[in-house]
Amino acid sequence: MTNYLLRRSGQMVLTLFLIVTLAFFLVQAQPGDYAAFYSLNPDIPAEAREQIKASFGLDKPLWQQYLIHMKNTLTGNFGVSFGHYPRPVIEVLAERLPRTIVLFLSATAVSFYLGFFLGKAIAWRRGGVLEYAATISGATLFTAFTPAFALMMIWIFAFKLGWLPVGKFLDPLIWRGAEVTANHVFSYMLATAAAFVVFAFLTLLVARKSGRFATGRLPFLIIAAGAVAIPVAWAFTGIGYLALDILRHMILPIATLTLISFAGTMLLTRNSMLETMREDYVMAARAKGLPEKVVRDRHAARNALLPVITSLVYSLIFAIDGSVIIEGVFSWPGTGMTLLQAVRSEDLPLVMGAMVFIGLFSLLAHVIVDVLYVYLDPRIRYQ
């Protein structure tokens, strides 16, 4: 296991290195002068341009520029945003990141679960009406023109039915008196989610180690207790109503993202299930007289999950990609919107920074998936 994780981390460091290199050479390769982008922006004072040039080593030979770029990036110096001058790029991105993570991790989790659930259902009842319905609607939603579709969702649920807010991530009227910033709440939400995941993970791990109550309900009851404890704890923080407001604003984007992205996971799960369903241990499980649902969920689906989990990376990356559009339509100021605005306003340092951040984010996705994989597949865990 250690070997596996070491090798994967090595690959990731390499990937990060390549992303940074790619960013550098893309800027180099674009028509026009690399230096010009950094130095010709009329909003930047003339002397500041010189300074920027020097700090990026634009007067030096290419390979030295490259080394400087690499050093800058690795030390978190992405330069200064033109559009937010003189805020450092890293600060702008750090402000947007929690929002993107909260929204897109939840959306990916929901869509992954839905896709997996449907996938295993349609594989199990192959050829049923459900399969046709799910495949066609899944593929249609998957290829639906996202901006129009997202807008339609807003129109229906926020405007016509009036159930949910029209975009944004909070309601100013609720937040007016709040003493904390939204990012504060986002960070607490993230921390809570992380704590809960760790808690659930540890509970399951302990359960598995002790072997005793592995099949019992106790661990689930403990996790349920944890789940109940969270809102109760939040209620006492005094900012619970703010978190609730954010959650309310998250429903529609999450629903939209889920609808457009569940099909990928669903169809993959279906194929993976069809393959595992032919395995002898599934037949054995059935022969053992286990209830159909146990055979399906604990044996077929549990094994089918392994290749599907690998695709979670792509689901996450797909979500990041979707964020460029979804964030715009839902007025959700995350990294995707930042990237698009930076591109439109030619805020090149911010573009590069956002790209590296998004690259980092997808690396993070790889890490999460690797850890999950190790947890889920004993064959790797015990190697």
């Binding site: 990937t15 390549l18 893309l26 290829t143 129109w155 990376v313």
Partner: protein, 327 residues
């Protein structure tokens, strides 16, 4: 998806000394047989057949545009970019017999735009797919055949590329370069070709490499290139075809999104049609101005999902483990 059926599983029976023509003939015959068998499996998927029919309809539409322009449509009125429907006073105007899908806010015929764009989308999709598959089969075959350092390098590169979010990357590229349809196809093709598709084709190529007929070909004195291009790559083709379908979907979708965001340098496409409707403020108008959004929007969805579903159906042909129980 690791192992699939091979087109020419029984190829080693061919005596290599019998000359290329015979070899080609035998290959052709076998390819035909495989195709026929594959088709039999394919038609079992109702969704696949339906999707193929949709693609065929779109192909017809693409071909019809130049014909219509040359015969019944005068460029003054029907040119997708510079035309203007003089017979109307208000634009966008609703459909009637002269403009079956109405006109856009600039007085241009929507049907003409739709048909014209269909052609571009096909060119885009197919170029991207060919580039992807061309690169991916070569990369996959070479990586599998040589192994070692070549393999590691190519596969690390692939790992890197699949870690990149495609649309975001294209947006960044559009900021740096002036992207037109051809460059877009090329970039999508290259990203796909060196990325995920290469990995999948490589694992397929690996299973082909260990087949006895490859040994036979090498023993018969086939050079590296000969083995790769004559024996390995043809056997990768069925799987490549499958991934071509997915690439087409991706390319058309990417074009639509980038055009919608106004980041591409092209005059007309489905994405531009929606973009025009959007900048005119008609995206919300829904039912009142459906012809501005529905034809292009539905075309994107239909053609993308058709290619996608054909790919899925092909998957069942190529990957026997997905087939129904059968003896």
């Amino acid at each position: 998806m690791g192992e699939g059926t091979s087109l020419f599983e029984d190829a080693p029976e061919i005596d290599l000394s019998r000359g290329r023509l015979d070899l080609a003939l035998v290959r052709l015959r076998m390819a035909w047989r495989t195709l026929r068998d594959g088709w039999a499996v394919f038609v079992e998927s109702r969704i696949g057949v339906l999707s193929l029919a949709i693609i065929a309809i779109f192909a017809l539409m693409a071909f019809s545009h130049p014909i219509l322009m040359a015969t019944v449509w005068t460029p003054d009125v029907y040119d997708p970019v510079t035309g203007y429907a003089f017979d109307r006073f208000e634009h966008p105007s609703p459909p009637d017999w002269r403009h079956p899908l109405g006109t856009d806010s600039l007085g241009r015929d929507i049907l003409s735009q739709l048909l014209f764009s269909t052609k571009s989308e096909f060119i885009l999709g197919i170029t991207a797919a060919l580039v992807t598959v061309g690169i991916a089969t070569t990369v996959g075959a070479v990586a599998a055949y040589y192994g070692g350092l070549v393999d590691s390098l190519l596969m690390r590169l692939a790992d890197l590329i699949i870690a990149l979010p495609g649309i975001s990357l294209l947006i960044v590229l559009s900021a740096l370069f002036n992207l037109n349809l051809f460059y877009l196809a090329l970039i999508i093709g290259v990203l796909g070709g060196f990325g995920g598709t290469a990995i999948i084709l490589k694992s397929q190529a690996l299973s082909i490499r260990v087949k006895p007929y490859i040994e036979a070909a090498r023993a018969a004195g086939g050079g590296h290139f000969h083995v790769i291009f004559v024996h390995i790559i043809p056997n990768l083709l069925p799987l490549s075809l499958l991934y071509m379908m997915f690439t087409v979907t991706g390319a058309i979708f990417a074009e639509a999104v980038l055009s919608f965001l106004g980041l591409l340098d092209i005059r007309m496409s489905w994405g531009i049609m929606i973009h025009t409707a959007n900048t005119g403020g008609y995206l919300l108008a829904g039912a009142n101005y459906w012809w501005l959004i529905v034809p292009a929007g539905a075309s994107i969805t239909l053609l993308c999902s058709a290619f996608y579903l054909v790919g899925r159906a092909l998957d069942e042909v190529v990957n026997p483990r997905l087939r129904r129980h059968d003896r």
